[in-house]
């Protein structure tokens, strides 16, 4: 007996699998690999949060929560956004606790898009942006940012891609994979552009606490009435596996997102929400220490790359550098594959994050200093 022969979803079938997969399989099959390919912190979740979750499990926090998520956690999230950035969302009807930014982004796009609506996606960008737009029936419109301009969200580049079908601009700051953090001035200019053309700004701010040149600038500061703020705990608090994040949006859109969420996910994991709340309450010192540690590695690693002739704009946030490998004459794929097979260092080819990533590779410095130093030695040997 064979499965039904009628075609699967054309929308889904048309999306290729992530290019990360190939390198994952290759790296997994090898011994002694130093991986700079990991998109998550190397620190464990702060113990206070883990302990709170253990306690919560012992005391029966194994149920659903309200669809929106624990009110205390939503209040903590919106108060925190207000305290740190002066951005005001209402806990009651403008904030939703989600299973990570991934779910938040999916909800946003599905609530927002009609078939054929275009979403401008500046590249290089996180691997899920364009597929998620397509899954939601929209049309992703990639635009290449300029590495020579530190991947600034240049309104001229973005503006050139706007058509009458454009609905939103989707971007991450600080960015995975480039580590670039957008300035207040550029976000103001982007907000002006969005107002002029009546667009939404979909702002992925999962790395908001991991900034190294002063405090993070949220997009919502420039245009609160048209910004969806996507955030969470995965990167800042080293809580990737807990699957808990949030999305904040103006009320009518947030309510539509709530509608999808209540019929699909129902709620983010209860014990994870409790852990996230505890992290927000007690783990600021842990975050400060992690940020200080990332900052030291960032300096050491970018300097090391520069000395090897692999230039990169000094990243302002997240835990990635995105050096140019143009001086080696290799393509991104050739470089990444050669480095892995010859010297056992895993990096991710820039093309995984869009065609404009060609000539670059993504290196994560969420790895201990001695390993970063060893990786630099191996890279030096590889390109010698």
């Amino acid at each position: 007996m064979s499965a039904p022969g009628k075609p699967f979803s054309r929308t889904v079938s048309a999306i290729p699998p992530s290019g990360i997969r190939k390198f994952f399989d290759l790296a997994q099959s090898m011994q002694g690999v130093i991986s700079l390919g990991v998109g998550e912190p190397d620190f464990p979740t702060p113990w206070s949060a883990r302990e709170a979750a253990i306690h919560a499990l012992e005391h029966g926090a194994t149920t659903y929560t309200s669809n929106s998520g624990l009110l205390e956690l939503r209040e903590a999230v919106v108060d925190d956004l207000a305290d740190r950035y002066g951005v005001r969302y209402r806990a009651a009807d403008e904030c939703l606790i989600t299973s990570g930014v991934s779910e938040g982004l999916d909800l946003t796009l599905r609530a927002l898009l009609n078939p054929g609506d275009e979403v401008i996606v500046p590249e290089p960008c996180y691997v899920a942006y364009q597929p998620c737009v397509a899954f939601a029936g929209g049309v992703p419109v990639p635009v290449a940012l300029d590495p020579g301009d530190a991947y600034r969200l240049d309104p001229a580049i973005i503006g050139a891609a706007i058509t009458e079908n454009t609905k939103a601009i989707l971007f991450g700051s600080p960015s995975n994979p480039t580590g670039s953090a957008q300035s207040a001035a550029d976000l103001e200019a982007l907000a002006a552009l969005a107002r002029e053309h009546d667009l939404w700004l979909l702002s992925d701010e999962i790395y908001d606490r991991l900034t190294y040149h002063g405090i993070h600038t949220p997009a919502a500061a420039a245009a609160p009435e048209r910004t969806v703020t996507l955030g969470g705990f995965s990167k800042s608090y080293a809580m990737t596996g807990w699957r808990v994040g949030y999305v904040c949006a103006p009320e009518p859109l947030a309510q539509l997102m709530h509608r999808i969420h209540q019929y699909t996910m129902l709620c983010a994991p209860h014990m994870s929400q409790i852990a996230a709340l505890e992290a927000m309450r007690t783990a600021q010192d842990d975050v400060d220490e992690m940020v200080a540690d990332y900052d030291r590695r960032r300096r050491l690693f970018s300097k090391g790359l520069e000395e090897l002739g692999l230039t990169c704009p000094v990243p302002g946030g997240a835990f990635y550098v995105f050096p140019s490998i143009a001086s080696t004459g290799m393509s991104s794929e050739q470089f990444a594959e050669g480095l892995l097979t010859q010297e056992k260092v895993a990096v991710v080819p820039g093309t995984v994050f869009g065609p404009s990533g060609e000539g670059h590779v993504r290196c994560s410095y969420a790895t201990a200093l001695p390993q970063l130093e060893q990786a630099l030695e191996r890279i030096a040997r590889f390109i010698a």
């Binding site: 994952f24 790296a27 997994q28 990991v38 998550e40 190397d42 691997v127 200080a292 030291r296 300096r299």
Partner: protein
């Protein structure tokens, strides 16, 4: 500038050049500050954290709670300083609670530590009582977990 001390605290071995790389502060400034801190006593000394058990040295540590009859006008200071000068004493702290001083004693054997407490420590003027607790196992010391680190469970390449 605090960053310089943070680096040194976790790696006393770090050269000025390395500290400069890690902190973004230029090397000459790093040297200047370290020299000034060494002179003023902000940096007390450079120390390696050694796991003597792992090296194979058997050492015995005891925490001793000491009750003291304080001295008029001097409080606990004179007695605390007298105790602190013994080579066997690793640490002396004045604490709140039923006892007055909590001291850490180290010796080559239980007998050596016990003899020290019985013959030296409890014999000091104004020491009226001692209560000795032998250390059985260290789990965390000086802010450093001594248990095995948690294995890295991350996948080797993730988005």
């Amino acid at each position: 500038m605090r960053e310089i001390l943070t680096v040194l605290e976790s790696d006393a071995h770090a050269s000025a050049e390395r500290i400069a790389t890690l902190t973004g502060i230029d090397e000459a400034t790093v040297r200047e500050h370290i020299a000034a801190w060494e002179a003023s006593g902000v940096i007390r000394r450079y120390k390696a954290v050694i796991d003597w058990d792992r090296y194979g040295d058997q050492r015995v540590t005891a925490f001793v709670d000491v009750t003291v009859a304080p001295e008029r006008g001097r409080g606990f200071d004179d007695v605390a300083e007298r105790i602190a000068r013994f080579r066997e004493i690793r640490a002396v702290h004045l604490v709140s609670g039923a006892q007055d001083l909590r001291v850490e004693v180290e010796g080559a054997s239980m007998k050596e530590v016990a003899d020290f407490v019985a013959q030296k420590l409890s014999g000091i003027d104004r020491v009226t009582a001692t209560s000795t607790h032998f250390l059985l196992r260290r789990y965390k010391d000086d802010g450093q977990l001594l248990t095995d680190p948690e294995p890295d469970q991350r996948l080797s390449v993730t988005p």
